[in-house]
Symmetry: C2
Subunit: 333 residues, 2 copies
């Protein structure tokens, strides 16, 4: 059984949708364990009682420090103490990062854990970092590239994953200071299948197996992609339902439209891995539905099954050291 | 008559589509003037013969310096020398920026000219900077905000335009070093209707009248939006045409789908203004079609009609000075 600690109070629709999603994900292989207040309707799932809650708008570091018995922090601690195999929360992302750093700690050699999201393109692409590090240095991007590669290879089953750096032109000399320096480091890094820059235009078509960027850019990209997909499909629906002819057509294309909406729906992939820690953590969307929570828990279980953490621990040190050797002078700052 | 200098050799589909687009845009009010090689089939338009060409992949600054009689540089110079009222090129963007800086020069007080694009949201939003400055400092973002505001007010007719800073959370304390510092400066800036941060999720719905960001982020955003819209519509078409039922439905929804595709098509808005210069310049997409070129020329003419440059010159200095007074210590670097 894979034990997944679930923050029952995390997210805009907690606890109802979180508990429902956890119940949906429970199976012969997956055992969700809820962390939340006494008296919670757990739908028969195991409950670890916690006495505090971290709000979506609380300041992350302070909240984590002040509330060690919050559902979020306690769920992370369970993984650190081996009472669970993975943790899932749709709560305050900053607090989740802070709690994971504190309770799970970094893998040796990892400077900055990063968020990896599988973009719903036809060729699955790992976008790393999707938001853990708002500011990053060039050598961090090299570590992201290694972590993303191991993840793509081990979890997605992509042999020798193609890595590209997200920039504003395919030519090496296009970009900002960060990507220009990172490009040189990536090109020189050993054991990476680095293929140069990619532009954001190609992301949803599947630009590469691993797309590397700083966390600010990655977060902007992820949210923009989600928002744009939703706005386009909503506008199309509105345009169609404005005429009788359109409404009939809409009925006929419904299966195709539904299939695509479901493929592109963030709820379908559910969550993002936080890579570079000694334990497995999945961060779900703040407004996660029951379906999103269930999928985030399944995602966490898949990570345990593929031993993402163990594989990273085993394969990273050597690569990270190789990367450290080629670090730019900026590292000294 | 509004005279628009057109770089006949600029863009992937030059010169054919460029000349055709210019011919389409010619009217009782608009007089396109082509810049290109002798013997060009001009479809009856005026031609200023140039002897050099700048390729899409040439290094911008060097190319502009080495090729003063290229179609791109000569077209820019025509505006600087008042032989034309505006310039349009779909050529090498970097070279266009360099040529504009050289031939048109900056407005007094403007540190960094910026690219303003009108996003095709239902509420038109000006995205500034969309790619002129890959690296920017906080005080530059304040200038972008002023330029974007004047543009929205004068050209789009939006009274007291709402300005938002693109970041990774709506709360002022979310962002990277650049946006955190820029947020404080914007909040303190006089004469700006600054409403705080916006997330990329809301951009296509129309997050604000003016959305401010550095040029790297803006360029990533613009290309991602275009690519995502295209990929979604293509995938839907593919899904629909895979079944007979879907094909019939597709025929019925075609008018609605076409309307949306056309609204969201980058060719419809055609180009981007480069603001902060003493002359008017419009940068069109590298792969501009005939339609895109025609619309870019019309966009340039509209800018002349609304006297964008004169209005900026008149309204900026005071505001820019106000912004300079509140500049962060980083400016000293």
């Amino acid at each position: 059984m894979i034990r997944v600690a679930v923050d029952a109070l995390g997210g805009d629709r907690a606890p109802e949708e979180v508990v429902a999603g956890a119940a949906d994900a429970a199976s012969g292989e997956i055992q969700p364990i809820l962390f939340g207040p006494a008296g919670l309707d757990t739908q028969g799932l195991e409950l670890v009682v916690t006495t505090q809650a971290i709000g979506m708008d609380e300041k992350p570091a302070e909240a984590v420090k002040a509330k060690p018995d919050s559902s979020l922090v306690a769920a992370c601690r369970a993984v650190g103490e081996d009472a669970a195999d993975a943790v899932v929360s749709a709560g305050n992302t900053g607090a989740m990062l802070a709690a994971c750093f504190l309770e799970l700690r970094r893998l040796p050699g990892v400077a900055r854990p990063a968020i990896a999201v599988v973009i719903p393109s036809e060729r699955p692409s790992v976008l790393i970092d999707s938001g853990a590090n708002a500011d990053a240095r060039p050598e961090h991007l090299v570590q992201f590239a290694y972590m993303g590669s191991v993840f793509a290879e081990e979890v997605l089953g992509t042999p020798s994953p193609e890595v590209r750096l997200l920039s504003i032109g395919e030519e090496p000399e296009k970009g900002n200071q960060l990507t220009l320096e990172a490009h040189d480091l990536l090109a020189a890094a050993e054991g990476l299948n680095f293929k140069g820059n990619t532009e954001s235009r190609d992301l949803l078509r599947g630009a590469a197996d691993v797309v590397v960027c700083d966390g600010f850019t990655g977060n902007v990209v992820l949210k923009l992609m989600e928002g744009t997909i939703k706005t386009v499909l909503d506008a199309l629906r509105e345009g169609i339902t404005a005429s009788r002819r359109g409404r009939v057509g809409g009925l006929l294309i419904r299966p195709a439209a539904r299939g695509m909406r479901s493929r592109l729906d963030p709820d379908t992939y559910g969550g993002a891995y936080l890579l570079g820690l000694r334990g497995l953590a999945v961060i779900a969307h703040g407004n996660s539905s029951r379906l999103a929570i269930a999928n985030a828990i399944r995602l966490a279980a898949r990570g345990v099954e593929h031993d993402v953490v163990g594989t990273l621990a085993q394969r990273l040190p050597e690569r990270v050291l190789a990367s450290a050797r080629s670090e730019s002078p900026r590292q000294a700052r």
